[in-house]
């Protein structure tokens, strides 16, 4: 009954009223958006055509990593199986394509829906566990999905499924060069804008309250289980969308999208970028994937420098790139 009072005076400090929210930092996102929007037009002049596809992949990964950041940073739920939802999204798109539907919009919408359903199912079991057990049970479900995809010989089994027929963006859009790029940019921008709003909404604040003190939030009358489950479903749905977008980007889907390594990579990008920080995921994606891309150019041994960077970041930047040297909030 006292809920209204609590909604008006948040016990937790708002997540992004930090010193960085003043001055030029307010305009930086718009600047980045502008640069990204102009990139496909400018790239050919600079001889960077190849990187249009790369930047598109970065934006898609930012969506996936943001959804995991929402789950871990705001919900305190460390999921080590998030790549499973990317896979569900991608395979939904493949299933539609296989049955003759080639509309991107239908496929992406349905991918979100199917992933949300799976997340509801997986979440309703996983959320009962805590800590290490939650990490492990989400990993177990992702492994199950991985092996299901491996044994699904209709969609290529372990070898994967190549997408050879181009998908349709809708009547006139198909004739615009780089249309997919701008659509991806638009969706990524919307996801980031929405993420910021949700984090400050009542739902977002309640979720952060549960992260910090579950018992107290329960005693105050918040439906703890339902709020956590909703967060899990939302994160799963957006991961599914990212997976379906990745399938269009790569023109290829395979079980390895859902492997342990992929899930671990998503987690690495969240933590490296700065968990629970609005721009952390984007920063983590850009740094991590660009580093891999650059190192691969020069050497076959590109894993160990990245491993070393992970070790150093754990000891030197405990709050991630976006958080500077601040101590991490979540234990």
């Amino acid at each position: 009954m006292q809920n209204n009072n609590h909604a008006m005076m948040p016990a937790v400090p708002l997540p992004f009223k930090s010193r960085q929210e003043s001055g030029w930092f307010l305009f930086a996102p718009w600047l980045v958006l502008g640069v990204l929007a102009a990139f496909p037009l400018v790239a050919p002049l600079l001889g960077l055509d190849y990187y249009v596809g790369f930047v598109q992949r970065l934006m898609i990964y930012s969506i996936a990593v943001s959804s995991l950041n929402f789950l871990i940073g705001y919900g305190g739920m460390v999921a080590l199986g998030h790549a499973g939802f990317l896979g569900i999204g991608a395979y939904t798109l493949v299933a539609l394509l296989d049955s003759g539907q080639d509309s991107v919009w239908l496929a992406w919408g349905l991918a979100m829906g199917v992933s949300a359903l799976f997340a509801l199912l997986i979440g309703s079991i996983s959320i009962r566990t805590r800590g290490m057990y939650f990490i492990m049970i989400t990993l177990a479900f992702a492994q199950m999905l991985y092996y299901l995809a491996v044994s699904f010989s209709r969609f290529g089994g372990e070898d994967g499924y190549g997408i050879y027929t181009p998908l349709s963006l809708g009547s006139w859009l198909d004739n615009v060069p780089h249309a997919l790029y701008w659509i991806v940019l638009l969706i990524a921008a919307l996801v980031f804008a929405m993420g910021s709003r949700v984090a400050c909404s009542r739902f977002g604040l309640a979720l952060q309250g549960i992260r910090d003190n579950e018992v107290r939030m329960g005693a105050m009358g918040y439906p703890v289980y339902a709020i956590r489950l909703l967060a899990f479903v939302v994160a799963g749905a957006f991961a599914g969308l990212a997976g379906a977008m990745l399938a269009v980007n790569n023109n290829f889907v395979s079980p390895s999208m859902m492997s342990f390594g992929e899930s671990a990579g998503l987690l690495v990008m969240v933590i490296l970028g700065g968990m629970g920080h609005r721009w952390g995921p984007a920063l983590g994606v850009v740094v991590w994937l660009t580093l891999a891309e650059v190192l691969k150019l020069y050497t076959d041994y590109w894993h160990w420098p990245m491993g070393l960077i992970l070790l150093l970041s754990v000891f030197l930047l405990p709050a991630g790139l976006a958080g500077g040297s601040r101590r991490r909030v979540i234990k």
């Binding site: 479900f141 390594g261 690495v268 933590i271 076959d300 160990w304 990245m306 070393l308 992970l310 754990v314």
Partner: protein
């Protein structure tokens, strides 16, 4: 499916389960005592397998290979403990996950640089290459029988160490309540170093023993790490007894699923569907087991913390 096949597969399951136990024992103690998640445990297994395969090839002595693999991996573990793990155990699980993923990446590249990118063959010792006859008429590969015997001996040794020595008592005290043990005057940090190195030795032993019957290659550690994590979760984190029971369960279910499910489904379903479904179900059997156990007992079969 005749009796010999069933018997052989069940024994294989026990052997695989015991090897999982060697990995899981170290993992569960490190996690139980220091609340530290070490995803790089599989890398120690990989290093053990490579060392053993190379030393065996060079010297021709299998026993020497195992001794060198275990000792070498322990030295490496000591280094890792001092440089990295010691600074990690007061940190949260996420930092531990991140740092140990970093260790995996470094270990994979180091192995690639030293022993090359392609898988290597681990030879089977000549005196264990033939079959033995069990119970009068059942032939079974002698190497796999040795695996079971060695696994059981190590399990017995570990049981005696944990349950019947002063050191084991301290280890159990640390696992069930670290802070209380510290207040009673136990130097838990030192116990942790000991347990971490012991676990590394066991992982290397498992790698050395598994080498001749599996592929010695980069990534072999990650492939077996996940079943080992499933084992410690089913058994209850921190409990060696739980890890033993869960390892045998997982080993048997995994092996039996792969061996018996496809032929069983063949009887009932069309061949293509049976092949897909059989291999799929067999691969996910242990995860279903884990999800079921966690749904019924959220902290595993034998929770170490009261």
């Amino acid at each position: 499916m005749d009796v010999i096949f069933v018997f052989e597969q069940l024994l294989n399951g026990v052997g695989y389960g015991l090897m999982l136990f060697l990995l899981a024992a170290g993992l569960t103690l490190v996690f139980g005592i220091m609340d530290t998640l070490n995803l790089a445990h599989g890398s120690l297994y990989m290093v053990g397998a490579y060392l053993a395969a190379r030393v065996h090839e060079a010297s021709g002595s299998f026993l020497l290979a195992i001794v060198v693999a275990v000792a070498g991996t322990k030295i490496l573990a000591l280094l890792v403990e001092v440089l990295v793990m010691r600074r990690l155990y007061r940190r949260d699980h996420l930092s531990q996950v991140l740092a140990t993923i970093g260790l995996i990446m470094i270990a994979d590249d180091a192995v690639r640089a030293i022993w090359g990118p392609s898988p290597i063959m681990a030879p089977t010792p000549a005196w264990l290459s033939g079959p033995v006859t069990l119970l009068g008429s059942l032939p079974y590969p002698s190497y796999r029988l040795m695996l079971i015997v060695a696994g059981l001996l190590v399990a017995l040794g570990l049981y005696l160490l944990v349950n019947h020595t002063r050191l084991g008592m301290i280890v159990r005290a640390g696992a069930s309540n670290r802070r209380m043990a510290e207040l009673m005057g136990v130097r838990v940090n030192r116990v942790f170093s000991f347990v971490f190195i012991l676990g590394a030795g066991l992982a290397a032993l498992a790698g050395a023993l598994m080498g001749p019957i599996s592929a010695v290659q980069i990534g072999m550690g990650d492939a077996i790490l996940i079943p080992a994590l499933v084992v410690i979760v089913i058994g209850g984190i921190g409990s060696v007894r739980g890890a033993f029971v869960a390892a045998l369960l997982v080993g048997l279910i995994d092996t039996a699923g792969r061996a018996f499910l496809p032929p069983l489904l063949h009887v009932m379903l069309p061949p293509a569907l049976a092949a897909d479904l059989g291999s799929g179900l067999a691969s996910i059997a242990m995860y279903i087991l884990m999800a079921t156990v966690l749904a019924l007992k959220p902290s595993g079969l034998f929770p170490a913390r009261g």
